[in-house]
Symmetry: C2
């Protein structure tokens, strides 16, 4: 950040009064430009036979590796709405609800990834501009070495673990 | 947002290629300025005798109403680290860990509130510049009509409910 998004003046980096961290501050209009981590909302879609949907990414980063549907949460929506919207956009899977599975922080990327499990009503899904292949996997078939993101691996491992034990929501962080 | 924070040029609002929402776009340096909800991280501190810590706000908004410790998550930290930092800053309660309690979306405010329960090791706490009074309450004593925020009410109700039933993490949204 170089310029104030409100008035266009150059910003300076300083610790505002009553604060203890350096911020981008506009000395012209006095706006303090806080920067915060961004939420990413995702689902783990479960087919009627219990297999998991993975999507092969058709876009960078990590093109051609396997992922769960997900993306940046938009203003004006809830975490669940964001997760279900991404699931439609990436795999044309429609669902009305989901159950919270994991909240995983990526402090090195200033992101928080929030995963929901989604029970699919049927086998309706489709590739999209963001996804060049969709496949159903059971636990033994998951392509662990070809997953796009560490958080996807964590969410999948947590899901298979909680299948066998009591359900709990994972809250953890992923190393850089 | 009126100006590009990268180059200082005026931004225009348009739907970028491969997108389907209007964004703030800089036609000078081609930056797309996405805007996303901001995470707020909070705790519900539990004293050794089971009572809950509430803080009376010394700052606006909702000055003099009761709240749980919490605030905007900072870049570079995890959700739990953010929640524990705020708990120190607002009540001088030190804790090493916490358990995920609730993820509550506020779509009207473009916020996601993430609550952890924290088991206090002792009765160490203190007022701070942000908090003019700290008190311990059991369920019957909670000042429900003097709570600062709807999400605090939701988190407290969920906590007292899960005390009596199986533990689960609340994922819900709060109406405007
Ligand atoms: Zn300014
Ligand atoms: Zn620009």
């Amino acid at each position: 950040m170089n310029y104030c998004s409100v008035c266009g003046h150059k910003v300076t980096i300083k610790i505002p009064e009553d604060d203890h961290r350096p911020r981008h501050v506009c000395e012209n209009c006095n706006t303090i430009h806080y920067q915060n981590p961004r939420p990413i909302t995702c689902t783990l879609p479960i087919a009627p036979d219990g297999r998991i949907v993975l999507c092969r990414r058709n876009i960078e980063p990590q093109k051609d590796l396997w992922t769960l549907p997900g993306g940046f949460m938009e203003n004006g929506e809830t975490t669940l709405q964001g997760a279900l919207r991404e699931t439609w956009e990436e795999a044309e899977i429609h669902a009305e609800t989901g159950e919270l599975l994991a909240v995983i922080s990526l402090p090195a990327w200033d992101q928080v990834h929030i995963f929901y499990t989604v029970k699919m009503a049927d086998y309706s899904y489709s590739t999209t501009p963001e996804t060049n292949e969709i496949e159903l996997f059971d636990e033994q078939q998951i392509p662990w070495d070809e997953l796009a993101f560490k958080t996807v691996e964590s969410a999948l491992k947590h899901y298979f673990h909680t299948c066998k034990t009591e359900h709990f929501v994972l809250s953890s962080s992923v190393a850089p």
